[in-house]
Amino acid sequence: MSGFWPIFKRDLFAIFVTPMAWALIVIFLLLEGLNFYWLTVHFANQVDLAVDHGPLQWFFGETILFYLPLLMLPPALTMRSFAEERRAGTIESLLTAPVSTPGVVLAKWCAALATYLIAWAPTLLYIVILRRAGDVDWRVVGSSYLGVVLIGASFLSIGVLMSSMSKSQFVAVLLSLAVTVGLFILGIGEFIFDRGLAHDICSHISIWSQMADFSKGQIDSRHLVFHLSLTILPLFICVRVVDSWRWG
Protein backbone atom coordinates (compact mmCIF):
# COMPACT_ATOMS: atom_id res chain seq x y z
CA MET A 1 0.00 0.00 0.00
CA SER A 2 3.02 2.23 -0.32
CA GLY A 3 2.41 5.69 -1.68
CA PHE A 4 -1.18 5.92 -0.42
CA TRP A 5 -0.88 8.86 1.94
CA PRO A 6 1.12 11.30 -0.22
CA ILE A 7 -1.03 10.59 -3.29
CA PHE A 8 -4.23 10.97 -1.26
CA LYS A 9 -3.07 14.35 0.03
CA ARG A 10 -1.92 15.51 -3.40
CA ASP A 11 -5.14 14.50 -5.11
CA LEU A 12 -7.22 16.25 -2.50
CA PHE A 13 -5.01 19.30 -2.95
CA ALA A 14 -5.37 19.10 -6.73
CA ILE A 15 -9.16 18.93 -6.47
CA PHE A 16 -9.45 21.92 -4.15
CA VAL A 17 -6.76 24.13 -5.61
CA THR A 18 -8.66 24.35 -8.89
CA PRO A 19 -12.05 26.11 -9.03
CA MET A 20 -13.68 22.91 -10.30
CA ALA A 21 -14.39 21.34 -6.92
CA TRP A 22 -15.73 24.60 -5.52
CA ALA A 23 -18.01 25.10 -8.50
CA LEU A 24 -19.27 21.53 -8.19
CA ILE A 25 -19.91 21.86 -4.49
CA VAL A 26 -21.71 25.17 -4.95
CA ILE A 27 -23.99 23.75 -7.63
CA PHE A 28 -24.54 20.66 -5.52
CA LEU A 29 -25.48 22.66 -2.45
CA LEU A 30 -27.75 24.98 -4.48
CA LEU A 31 -29.69 21.97 -5.75
CA GLU A 32 -29.89 20.38 -2.31
CA GLY A 33 -30.85 23.74 -0.82
CA LEU A 34 -33.66 24.06 -3.37
CA ASN A 35 -34.72 20.54 -2.50
CA PHE A 36 -34.83 21.42 1.18
CA TYR A 37 -36.67 24.68 0.52
CA TRP A 38 -39.44 22.96 -1.42
CA LEU A 39 -39.67 20.35 1.26
CA THR A 40 -40.20 22.92 4.00
CA VAL A 41 -42.79 24.79 1.92
CA HIS A 42 -44.57 21.52 1.21
CA PHE A 43 -44.61 20.25 4.77
CA ALA A 44 -45.51 23.63 6.26
CA ASN A 45 -48.92 23.24 4.58
CA GLN A 46 -49.32 19.58 5.54
CA VAL A 47 -51.70 18.90 8.37
CA ASP A 48 -51.12 15.24 9.12
CA LEU A 49 -48.02 13.27 8.29
CA ALA A 50 -47.69 9.64 7.41
CA VAL A 51 -44.99 7.93 9.46
CA ASP A 52 -42.86 6.92 6.48
CA HIS A 53 -43.45 9.99 4.35
CA GLY A 54 -41.91 12.74 6.45
CA PRO A 55 -39.45 15.42 5.43
CA LEU A 56 -36.45 13.09 5.70
CA GLN A 57 -37.96 10.50 3.37
CA TRP A 58 -38.75 13.28 0.98
CA PHE A 59 -35.30 14.75 1.14
CA PHE A 60 -33.51 11.42 0.74
CA GLY A 61 -35.04 9.98 -2.32
CA GLU A 62 -38.42 11.34 -3.31
CA THR A 63 -37.31 14.16 -5.62
CA ILE A 64 -35.23 14.46 -8.73
CA LEU A 65 -33.19 17.16 -6.95
CA PHE A 66 -31.76 14.43 -4.77
CA TYR A 67 -30.93 11.97 -7.55
CA LEU A 68 -29.59 14.44 -10.07
CA PRO A 69 -26.59 15.44 -7.93
CA LEU A 70 -26.22 11.90 -6.59
CA LEU A 71 -25.73 10.61 -10.12
CA MET A 72 -23.73 13.55 -11.47
CA LEU A 73 -21.34 14.40 -8.64
CA PRO A 74 -19.26 11.17 -8.49
CA PRO A 75 -18.41 11.12 -12.23
CA ALA A 76 -17.41 14.79 -12.05
CA LEU A 77 -15.21 14.19 -9.01
CA THR A 78 -13.37 11.21 -10.48
CA MET A 79 -13.03 12.18 -14.13
CA ARG A 80 -9.56 13.64 -13.60
CA SER A 81 -8.17 10.84 -11.42
CA PHE A 82 -6.25 8.90 -14.05
CA ALA A 83 -7.31 10.54 -17.31
CA GLU A 84 -5.61 13.83 -16.51
CA GLU A 85 -2.43 12.15 -15.25
CA ARG A 86 -2.21 10.20 -18.47
CA ARG A 87 -2.95 13.18 -20.68
CA ALA A 88 -0.32 15.32 -18.95
CA GLY A 89 2.15 12.42 -18.74
CA THR A 90 2.55 12.78 -14.98
CA ILE A 91 1.43 9.17 -14.64
CA GLU A 92 4.97 8.28 -15.71
CA SER A 93 6.57 10.05 -12.75
CA LEU A 94 3.89 8.67 -10.48
CA LEU A 95 4.24 5.03 -11.48
CA THR A 96 8.05 5.09 -11.56
CA ALA A 97 8.09 6.17 -7.91
CA PRO A 98 8.26 3.31 -5.41
CA VAL A 99 4.48 3.02 -5.09
CA SER A 100 2.23 -0.01 -5.30
CA THR A 101 -0.63 0.00 -7.77
CA PRO A 102 -3.32 -0.74 -5.14
CA GLY A 103 -1.92 2.17 -3.14
CA VAL A 104 -2.28 4.54 -6.10
CA VAL A 105 -5.82 3.42 -6.98
CA LEU A 106 -7.05 3.47 -3.38
CA ALA A 107 -5.52 6.90 -2.78
CA LYS A 108 -7.32 8.36 -5.78
CA TRP A 109 -10.61 6.78 -4.77
CA CYS A 110 -10.28 7.91 -1.16
CA ALA A 111 -9.48 11.48 -2.23
CA ALA A 112 -12.63 11.53 -4.37
CA LEU A 113 -14.65 10.01 -1.51
CA ALA A 114 -13.34 12.62 0.91
CA THR A 115 -14.40 15.39 -1.48
CA TYR A 116 -17.81 13.75 -1.87
CA LEU A 117 -18.23 13.67 1.91
CA ILE A 118 -17.15 17.30 2.17
CA ALA A 119 -19.82 18.20 -0.38
CA TRP A 120 -22.50 16.40 1.65
CA ALA A 121 -21.37 17.65 5.05
CA PRO A 122 -23.20 21.02 4.93
CA THR A 123 -26.54 19.22 4.36
CA LEU A 124 -26.33 18.15 8.00
CA LEU A 125 -27.42 21.71 8.76
CA TYR A 126 -30.83 20.88 7.29
CA ILE A 127 -31.22 18.22 9.96
CA VAL A 128 -30.37 20.81 12.59
CA ILE A 129 -33.04 23.11 11.11
CA LEU A 130 -35.59 20.29 10.99
CA ARG A 131 -34.89 19.52 14.59
CA ARG A 132 -35.98 23.01 15.60
CA ALA A 133 -39.36 22.36 14.02
CA GLY A 134 -39.91 18.96 15.50
CA ASP A 135 -38.46 15.59 16.36
CA VAL A 136 -35.84 13.96 14.20
CA ASP A 137 -35.37 10.21 14.18
CA TRP A 138 -31.59 9.85 14.35
CA ARG A 139 -31.71 6.25 13.15
CA VAL A 140 -33.38 7.47 9.97
CA VAL A 141 -30.77 10.20 9.60
CA GLY A 142 -27.98 7.68 10.15
CA SER A 143 -29.27 5.10 7.72
CA SER A 144 -30.05 7.76 5.10
CA TYR A 145 -26.53 9.10 5.22
CA LEU A 146 -25.21 5.54 5.19
CA GLY A 147 -27.09 5.07 1.92
CA VAL A 148 -25.65 8.28 0.52
CA VAL A 149 -22.12 7.19 1.47
CA LEU A 150 -22.55 3.67 0.09
CA ILE A 151 -23.94 4.86 -3.22
CA GLY A 152 -21.21 7.49 -3.41
CA ALA A 153 -18.51 4.92 -2.66
CA SER A 154 -19.63 2.60 -5.43
CA PHE A 155 -20.23 5.36 -8.00
CA LEU A 156 -16.85 6.91 -7.25
CA SER A 157 -15.25 3.52 -7.64
CA ILE A 158 -16.89 3.19 -11.06
CA GLY A 159 -15.75 6.73 -11.85
CA VAL A 160 -12.13 5.98 -10.96
CA LEU A 161 -12.23 2.89 -13.16
CA MET A 162 -13.70 4.82 -16.09
CA SER A 163 -11.07 7.51 -15.62
CA SER A 164 -8.40 4.85 -16.10
CA MET A 165 -10.02 3.78 -19.36
CA SER A 166 -9.43 6.99 -21.25
CA LYS A 167 -6.88 9.78 -21.60
CA SER A 168 -9.68 12.31 -21.90
CA GLN A 169 -11.55 13.57 -18.83
CA PHE A 170 -14.52 14.23 -21.05
CA VAL A 171 -14.72 10.65 -22.25
CA ALA A 172 -14.16 9.48 -18.67
CA VAL A 173 -17.05 11.55 -17.33
CA LEU A 174 -19.35 10.37 -20.14
CA LEU A 175 -18.46 6.74 -19.52
CA SER A 176 -19.12 6.93 -15.79
CA LEU A 177 -22.32 8.92 -16.31
CA ALA A 178 -23.46 6.24 -18.70
CA VAL A 179 -22.95 3.64 -15.98
CA THR A 180 -24.47 5.57 -13.05
CA VAL A 181 -27.44 6.91 -15.01
CA GLY A 182 -27.82 3.55 -16.75
CA LEU A 183 -27.97 1.82 -13.38
CA PHE A 184 -30.60 4.27 -12.18
CA ILE A 185 -32.73 3.84 -15.31
CA LEU A 186 -32.51 0.05 -15.02
CA GLY A 187 -33.83 0.48 -11.50
CA ILE A 188 -36.92 2.21 -12.88
CA GLY A 189 -37.63 -1.06 -14.69
CA GLU A 190 -39.03 -2.16 -11.34
CA PHE A 191 -42.14 -0.12 -12.11
CA ILE A 192 -42.31 -1.24 -15.75
CA PHE A 193 -42.16 -5.00 -15.25
CA ASP A 194 -44.96 -6.19 -12.98
CA ARG A 195 -43.40 -9.39 -11.85
CA GLY A 196 -40.91 -12.04 -12.77
CA LEU A 197 -37.14 -12.11 -12.97
CA ALA A 198 -36.82 -8.74 -14.71
CA HIS A 199 -38.81 -7.09 -11.93
CA ASP A 200 -36.68 -8.75 -9.25
CA ILE A 201 -33.39 -7.80 -10.87
CA CYS A 202 -34.49 -4.23 -11.50
CA SER A 203 -35.77 -3.74 -7.98
CA HIS A 204 -32.57 -5.24 -6.56
CA ILE A 205 -30.33 -2.74 -8.34
CA SER A 206 -32.77 0.16 -8.09
CA ILE A 207 -31.04 3.08 -6.41
CA TRP A 208 -34.48 4.58 -5.89
CA SER A 209 -35.91 1.71 -3.85
CA GLN A 210 -32.62 1.33 -1.99
CA MET A 211 -32.77 4.96 -0.92
CA ALA A 212 -36.44 4.48 -0.03
CA ASP A 213 -35.38 1.72 2.38
CA PHE A 214 -32.47 3.67 3.80
CA SER A 215 -34.60 6.77 4.32
CA LYS A 216 -37.07 4.72 6.35
CA GLY A 217 -34.30 3.65 8.68
CA GLN A 218 -34.01 0.18 7.18
CA ILE A 219 -30.52 -1.12 6.60
CA ASP A 220 -30.96 -4.04 4.23
CA SER A 221 -27.90 -6.27 4.07
CA ARG A 222 -28.59 -6.91 0.37
CA HIS A 223 -28.04 -3.23 -0.32
CA LEU A 224 -24.85 -3.28 1.74
CA VAL A 225 -23.49 -6.26 -0.18
CA PHE A 226 -24.57 -4.74 -3.49
CA HIS A 227 -22.70 -1.49 -2.92
CA LEU A 228 -19.67 -3.03 -1.29
CA SER A 229 -19.28 -5.32 -4.32
CA LEU A 230 -19.86 -2.40 -6.65
CA THR A 231 -17.09 -0.56 -4.79
CA ILE A 232 -14.53 -3.33 -4.57
CA LEU A 233 -14.94 -4.83 -8.04
CA PRO A 234 -14.27 -1.66 -10.09
CA LEU A 235 -11.31 -0.78 -7.84
CA PHE A 236 -9.91 -4.24 -8.36
CA ILE A 237 -10.35 -4.00 -12.13
CA CYS A 238 -8.78 -0.55 -12.02
CA VAL A 239 -5.66 -1.96 -10.34
CA ARG A 240 -5.43 -4.50 -13.15
CA VAL A 241 -5.92 -1.77 -15.77
CA VAL A 242 -3.13 0.34 -14.28
CA ASP A 243 -0.86 -2.70 -14.13
CA SER A 244 -1.71 -3.51 -17.73
CA TRP A 245 -0.27 -0.19 -18.90
CA ARG A 246 3.17 -1.52 -18.07
CA TRP A 247 2.67 -4.44 -20.39
CA GLY A 248 0.95 -2.60 -23.22
Binding site: S2, F13, G89, T96, P98
Partner: protein
Protein backbone atom coordinates in the same frame (compact mmCIF):
# COMPACT_ATOMS: atom_id res chain seq x y z
CA UNK B 1 24.61 -0.43 -10.91
CA UNK B 2 22.37 -1.08 -13.89
CA UNK B 3 22.51 -4.44 -15.60
CA UNK B 4 20.40 -4.92 -18.68
CA UNK B 5 20.35 -8.41 -20.11
CA UNK B 6 18.87 -9.40 -23.45
CA UNK B 7 16.14 -6.84 -23.24
CA UNK B 8 13.40 -7.09 -25.86
CA UNK B 9 10.20 -5.06 -26.07
CA UNK B 10 7.54 -5.76 -28.62
CA UNK B 11 4.51 -3.61 -29.37
CA UNK B 12 2.21 -5.85 -31.37
CA UNK B 13 4.35 -6.78 -34.34
CA UNK B 14 6.82 -3.93 -33.90
CA UNK B 15 10.05 -4.69 -32.07
CA UNK B 16 10.93 -1.45 -30.31
CA UNK B 17 13.93 -2.92 -28.49
CA UNK B 18 15.74 -6.01 -29.68
CA UNK B 19 18.04 -8.04 -27.48
CA UNK B 20 19.82 -5.12 -25.84
CA UNK B 21 22.42 -5.87 -23.14
CA UNK B 22 24.68 -3.45 -21.31
CA UNK B 23 25.89 -2.39 -17.88
CA UNK B 24 26.39 0.90 -16.13
CA UNK B 25 28.90 0.97 -13.30
CA UNK B 26 28.95 3.09 -10.15
CA UNK B 27 30.01 6.72 -10.59
CA UNK B 28 29.84 6.35 -14.32
CA UNK B 29 27.97 8.60 -16.74
CA UNK B 30 26.75 6.65 -19.72
CA UNK B 31 25.12 8.26 -22.72
CA UNK B 32 22.45 6.47 -24.62
CA UNK B 33 22.74 7.76 -28.14
CA UNK B 34 20.42 7.21 -31.04
CA UNK B 35 18.12 8.89 -33.51
CA UNK B 36 14.51 9.60 -32.60
CA UNK B 37 12.45 6.45 -32.47
CA UNK B 38 15.48 4.20 -32.01
CA UNK B 39 14.16 2.74 -28.77
CA UNK B 40 15.98 4.96 -26.25
CA UNK B 41 12.93 6.05 -24.31
CA UNK B 42 11.44 2.58 -24.35
CA UNK B 43 14.62 1.12 -22.87
CA UNK B 44 14.84 3.82 -20.20
CA UNK B 45 11.17 3.36 -19.34
CA UNK B 46 11.72 -0.36 -18.86
CA UNK B 47 14.69 0.33 -16.57
CA UNK B 48 12.64 2.88 -14.62
CA UNK B 49 9.82 0.36 -14.23
CA UNK B 50 7.21 2.24 -16.22
CA UNK B 51 7.07 -0.45 -18.88
CA UNK B 52 7.52 -4.18 -18.63
CA UNK B 53 9.95 -5.97 -20.90
CA UNK B 54 8.73 -8.62 -23.32
CA UNK B 55 11.91 -10.61 -22.68
CA UNK B 56 15.11 -10.07 -20.75
CA UNK B 57 15.76 -8.66 -17.32
CA UNK B 58 16.93 -5.51 -15.66
CA UNK B 59 18.77 -5.42 -12.33
CA UNK B 60 19.20 -2.07 -10.61
CA UNK B 61 21.60 -1.81 -7.70
CA UNK B 62 21.31 -5.55 -7.23
CA UNK B 63 17.49 -5.59 -7.27
CA UNK B 64 15.56 -7.28 -10.05
CA UNK B 65 12.93 -4.90 -11.46
CA UNK B 66 10.37 -7.66 -12.05
CA UNK B 67 10.77 -9.66 -8.85
CA UNK B 68 10.88 -6.64 -6.52
CA UNK B 69 9.50 -3.75 -8.55
CA UNK B 70 8.83 -1.32 -5.70
CA UNK B 71 12.25 -1.83 -4.12
CA UNK B 72 13.96 -1.52 -7.51
CA UNK B 73 12.11 1.72 -8.25
CA UNK B 74 13.21 3.15 -4.92
CA UNK B 75 16.82 2.85 -6.13
CA UNK B 76 16.22 4.93 -9.25
CA UNK B 77 15.76 8.64 -9.78
CA UNK B 78 14.03 8.85 -13.13
CA UNK B 79 13.37 11.94 -15.18
CA UNK B 80 10.93 11.22 -18.00
CA UNK B 81 11.19 12.86 -21.40
CA UNK B 82 9.50 16.30 -21.49
CA UNK B 83 9.45 16.35 -17.66
CA UNK B 84 5.76 15.96 -16.84
CA UNK B 85 4.91 17.96 -13.69
CA UNK B 86 1.77 19.03 -11.86
CA UNK B 87 1.29 22.65 -12.99
CA UNK B 88 -0.86 23.67 -10.01
CA UNK B 89 1.78 22.93 -7.36
CA UNK B 90 4.58 25.12 -6.10
CA UNK B 91 8.12 23.88 -6.65
CA UNK B 92 8.77 23.09 -2.99
CA UNK B 93 5.33 21.54 -2.53
CA UNK B 94 5.95 19.27 -5.50
CA UNK B 95 9.39 18.22 -4.30
CA UNK B 96 8.06 17.59 -0.78
CA UNK B 97 5.33 15.41 -2.30
CA UNK B 98 7.88 13.50 -4.38
CA UNK B 99 10.20 13.05 -1.41
CA UNK B 100 7.36 11.60 0.65
CA UNK B 101 6.29 9.40 -2.26
CA UNK B 102 9.83 8.08 -2.54
CA UNK B 103 9.90 7.24 1.14
CA UNK B 104 12.23 9.92 2.48
CA UNK B 105 11.53 9.90 6.25
CA UNK B 106 9.59 12.88 7.55
CA UNK B 107 12.48 14.18 9.65
CA UNK B 108 14.81 14.33 6.65
CA UNK B 109 12.31 15.49 4.07
CA UNK B 110 12.77 19.20 4.47
CA UNK B 111 16.52 18.94 4.25
CA UNK B 112 16.34 16.56 1.27
CA UNK B 113 14.13 18.99 -0.63
CA UNK B 114 16.37 21.95 0.18
CA UNK B 115 19.48 20.08 -0.85
CA UNK B 116 17.94 18.98 -4.15
CA UNK B 117 16.86 22.55 -4.89
CA UNK B 118 20.35 23.81 -4.06
CA UNK B 119 21.97 21.16 -6.27
CA UNK B 120 20.05 22.28 -9.33
CA UNK B 121 20.13 26.01 -8.48
CA UNK B 122 16.41 26.22 -7.94
CA UNK B 123 16.42 27.75 -4.50
CA UNK B 124 15.14 31.18 -5.57
CA UNK B 125 12.17 29.53 -7.27
CA UNK B 126 11.00 27.39 -4.37
CA UNK B 127 7.71 29.29 -4.06
CA UNK B 128 6.92 29.57 -7.75
CA UNK B 129 3.92 27.70 -9.16
CA UNK B 130 5.24 25.11 -11.60
CA UNK B 131 2.80 26.15 -14.32
CA UNK B 132 4.56 29.55 -14.45
CA UNK B 133 8.08 28.17 -14.84
CA UNK B 134 10.07 28.37 -18.05
CA UNK B 135 11.21 25.23 -19.81
CA UNK B 136 14.69 25.45 -18.31
CA UNK B 137 13.38 25.66 -14.78
CA UNK B 138 10.90 22.86 -15.34
CA UNK B 139 13.83 20.74 -16.43
CA UNK B 140 15.58 21.62 -13.16
CA UNK B 141 12.53 20.66 -11.16
CA UNK B 142 12.61 17.30 -12.95
CA UNK B 143 16.26 16.87 -12.04
CA UNK B 144 15.67 17.90 -8.43
CA UNK B 145 12.87 15.34 -8.31
CA UNK B 146 15.19 12.62 -9.60
CA UNK B 147 17.79 13.60 -6.97
CA UNK B 148 15.58 14.16 -3.97
CA UNK B 149 15.76 10.68 -2.50
CA UNK B 150 19.49 10.35 -3.23
CA UNK B 151 19.03 7.24 -5.37
CA UNK B 152 21.97 5.09 -6.39
CA UNK B 153 21.04 5.37 -10.04
CA UNK B 154 19.85 8.32 -12.12
CA UNK B 155 18.04 7.69 -15.37
CA UNK B 156 17.50 10.87 -17.38
CA UNK B 157 15.58 10.86 -20.64
CA UNK B 158 16.86 13.71 -22.85
CA UNK B 159 17.77 16.02 -19.97
CA UNK B 160 18.78 18.90 -22.25
CA UNK B 161 16.01 18.72 -24.82
CA UNK B 162 14.46 22.09 -25.52
CA UNK B 163 16.95 24.16 -23.53
CA UNK B 164 18.94 27.13 -24.75
CA UNK B 165 22.75 26.86 -25.03
CA UNK B 166 23.44 28.40 -21.60
CA UNK B 167 20.94 26.12 -19.90
CA UNK B 168 22.39 23.14 -21.74
CA UNK B 169 25.82 23.99 -20.37
CA UNK B 170 24.43 24.34 -16.84
CA UNK B 171 22.63 21.02 -17.03
CA UNK B 172 25.70 19.27 -18.43
CA UNK B 173 27.90 20.64 -15.65
CA UNK B 174 25.30 19.52 -13.19
CA UNK B 175 25.19 16.01 -14.59
CA UNK B 176 28.98 15.76 -14.47
CA UNK B 177 28.93 16.79 -10.82
CA UNK B 178 26.22 14.24 -10.07
CA UNK B 179 28.49 11.43 -11.18
CA UNK B 180 30.37 11.79 -7.90
CA UNK B 181 27.50 10.17 -6.05
CA UNK B 182 25.36 8.40 -8.63
CA UNK B 183 25.53 6.15 -11.63
CA UNK B 184 23.95 8.12 -14.45
CA UNK B 185 22.33 6.86 -17.63
CA UNK B 186 21.11 9.61 -19.93
CA UNK B 187 19.69 9.54 -23.39
CA UNK B 188 20.30 12.01 -26.16
CA UNK B 189 20.38 12.30 -29.90
CA UNK B 190 23.19 14.84 -29.80
CA UNK B 191 26.68 13.46 -30.29
CA UNK B 192 28.44 16.42 -28.70
CA UNK B 193 26.37 15.96 -25.57
CA UNK B 194 27.84 12.52 -25.10
CA UNK B 195 31.30 13.91 -25.65
CA UNK B 196 30.88 16.67 -23.11
CA UNK B 197 29.17 14.73 -20.33
CA UNK B 198 29.62 11.00 -20.65
CA UNK B 199 32.38 8.53 -19.92
CA UNK B 200 30.92 5.96 -22.20
CA UNK B 201 28.27 5.74 -24.84
CA UNK B 202 25.81 3.19 -26.11
CA UNK B 203 24.58 3.69 -29.64
CA UNK B 204 21.17 2.32 -30.44
CA UNK B 205 19.40 2.21 -33.76
CA UNK B 206 16.11 0.63 -34.70
CA UNK B 207 15.97 -1.10 -31.32
CA UNK B 208 19.37 -2.68 -31.56
CA UNK B 209 22.60 -1.77 -29.80
CA UNK B 210 24.92 -1.08 -32.70
CA UNK B 211 27.99 0.17 -30.85
CA UNK B 212 29.24 0.84 -27.37
CA UNK B 213 32.46 2.17 -26.08
CA UNK B 214 34.40 4.89 -24.37
CA UNK B 215 34.69 8.41 -25.66
CA UNK B 216 37.94 7.59 -27.43
CA UNK B 217 36.19 4.86 -29.33
CA UNK B 218 33.51 7.32 -30.29
CA UNK B 219 36.03 9.89 -31.39
CA UNK B 220 37.57 7.28 -33.64
CA UNK B 221 34.17 6.74 -35.13
CA UNK B 222 33.97 10.40 -35.80
CA UNK B 223 37.36 10.56 -37.44
CA UNK B 224 36.63 10.84 -41.04
CA UNK B 225 37.91 9.03 -44.00
CA UNK B 226 37.33 11.93 -46.31
CA UNK B 227 39.59 14.83 -47.17
CA UNK B 228 38.65 18.14 -48.71
CA UNK B 229 40.81 19.92 -51.23
CA UNK B 230 40.12 23.53 -52.09
CA UNK B 231 41.70 24.05 -55.48
CA UNK B 232 41.95 27.02 -57.78
CA UNK B 233 42.05 25.91 -61.39
CA UNK B 234 39.97 23.89 -63.75
CA UNK B 235 37.57 21.64 -61.81
CA UNK B 236 37.48 18.84 -64.38
CA UNK B 237 41.25 18.61 -64.45
CA UNK B 238 41.52 18.52 -60.66
CA UNK B 239 38.90 15.82 -60.51
CA UNK B 240 40.80 13.77 -63.03
CA UNK B 241 44.05 14.13 -61.12
CA UNK B 242 42.53 13.13 -57.78
CA UNK B 243 40.71 10.12 -59.13
CA UNK B 244 44.01 8.61 -60.22
CA UNK B 245 45.48 8.61 -56.70
CA UNK B 246 45.81 5.22 -55.11
CA UNK B 247 43.27 4.44 -52.38
CA UNK B 248 40.68 6.93 -53.54
CA UNK B 249 37.18 5.52 -53.48
CA UNK B 250 35.41 8.45 -55.02
CA UNK B 251 35.63 12.20 -55.49
CA UNK B 252 32.78 14.60 -55.48
CA UNK B 253 32.51 18.31 -55.95
CA UNK B 254 31.41 19.80 -52.63
CA UNK B 255 31.21 23.41 -53.82
CA UNK B 256 32.32 25.59 -56.67
CA UNK B 257 32.47 29.27 -55.86
CA UNK B 258 34.07 31.77 -58.24
CA UNK B 259 37.20 29.98 -59.38
CA UNK B 260 37.78 27.87 -56.28
CA UNK B 261 36.39 24.38 -56.32
CA UNK B 262 36.18 22.21 -53.24
CA UNK B 263 36.57 18.52 -53.89
CA UNK B 264 35.85 15.88 -51.32
CA UNK B 265 37.85 12.71 -51.56
CA UNK B 266 36.69 9.58 -49.80
CA UNK B 267 39.28 6.94 -49.13
CA UNK B 268 38.75 3.23 -49.46
CA UNK B 269 40.69 2.40 -46.31
CA UNK B 270 41.43 4.48 -43.29
CA UNK B 271 45.09 3.52 -43.68
CA UNK B 272 45.21 5.19 -47.08
CA UNK B 273 44.31 8.58 -45.71
CA UNK B 274 47.74 9.94 -44.77
CA UNK B 275 49.77 8.67 -47.72
CA UNK B 276 46.94 9.38 -50.11
CA UNK B 277 46.64 12.97 -48.98
CA UNK B 278 50.36 13.55 -49.49
CA UNK B 279 50.22 12.02 -52.95
CA UNK B 280 47.17 14.04 -53.86
CA UNK B 281 48.77 17.33 -52.83
CA UNK B 282 51.87 16.48 -54.86
CA UNK B 283 49.84 15.48 -57.89
CA UNK B 284 47.69 18.60 -57.78
CA UNK B 285 50.73 20.87 -57.53
CA UNK B 286 52.46 18.98 -60.33
CA UNK B 287 49.39 19.44 -62.48
CA UNK B 288 49.73 23.18 -62.02
CA UNK B 289 46.76 23.58 -59.67
CA UNK B 290 46.76 26.18 -56.93
CA UNK B 291 45.97 24.55 -53.63
CA UNK B 292 44.12 26.73 -51.13
CA UNK B 293 43.26 24.32 -48.35
CA UNK B 294 43.53 20.68 -47.40
CA UNK B 295 41.47 19.41 -44.50
CA UNK B 296 39.98 16.18 -43.22
CA UNK B 297 36.20 16.51 -43.10
CA UNK B 298 34.52 15.91 -39.80
CA UNK B 299 31.89 13.26 -39.98
CA UNK B 300 28.64 14.59 -38.64
CA UNK B 301 26.53 12.64 -36.23
CA UNK B 302 24.42 11.65 -39.18
CA UNK B 303 27.48 10.17 -40.85
CA UNK B 304 28.36 8.14 -37.80
CA UNK B 305 24.82 6.90 -37.57
CA UNK B 306 24.79 6.14 -41.24
CA UNK B 307 28.01 4.22 -40.78
CA UNK B 308 26.74 2.21 -37.84
CA UNK B 309 23.32 1.56 -39.24
CA UNK B 310 24.75 0.63 -42.61
CA UNK B 311 26.73 -2.00 -40.83
CA UNK B 312 23.68 -3.21 -39.00
CA UNK B 313 21.80 -3.44 -42.24
CA UNK B 314 24.64 -5.51 -43.57
CA UNK B 315 24.44 -7.88 -40.62
CA UNK B 316 20.74 -8.14 -41.15
CA UNK B 317 21.01 -9.43 -44.67
CA UNK B 318 24.13 -11.49 -44.38
CA UNK B 319 23.13 -13.72 -47.28
CA UNK B 320 23.65 -10.64 -49.36
CA UNK B 321 27.41 -11.11 -49.71
CA UNK B 322 28.25 -7.46 -49.91
CA UNK B 323 31.98 -6.85 -50.17
CA UNK B 324 32.04 -3.21 -49.34
CA UNK B 325 35.21 -3.01 -47.28
CA UNK B 326 34.26 0.41 -45.96
CA UNK B 327 32.15 -1.02 -43.21
CA UNK B 328 34.37 -3.43 -41.37
CA UNK B 329 35.78 -1.15 -38.69
CA UNK B 330 32.71 0.81 -37.72
CA UNK B 331 32.14 -0.92 -34.43
CA UNK B 332 34.81 -0.33 -31.80
Amino acid sequence: MIEVKHLTKTYGSVQAVRDVSFEVGAKEVVGFLGPNGAGKSTTLRIIAGFLGATRGRVVVDGVDTVQEPVRARSRIGYMPENVPLYPEMRVNEYLRFRAELKGVPRAQRREAVERAMRDVHLFDHAQVIIGNLSKGYRQRVGLADALVSRPAVLVLDEPTAGLDPNQIRDVRDLIRSLAKHHAVLLSTHIMSEVESTCDRALVIDRGRLVAQGTLDDLRKLRRSRATRFAVRGEPARALEVLEKIEGVRDVREASNRQDVVVLEVRWTHKADTAAGTEQAVQALVDAGMKLREVAPTKASLEDVFALLTEEEQQEADESDASTDSDRGEASP
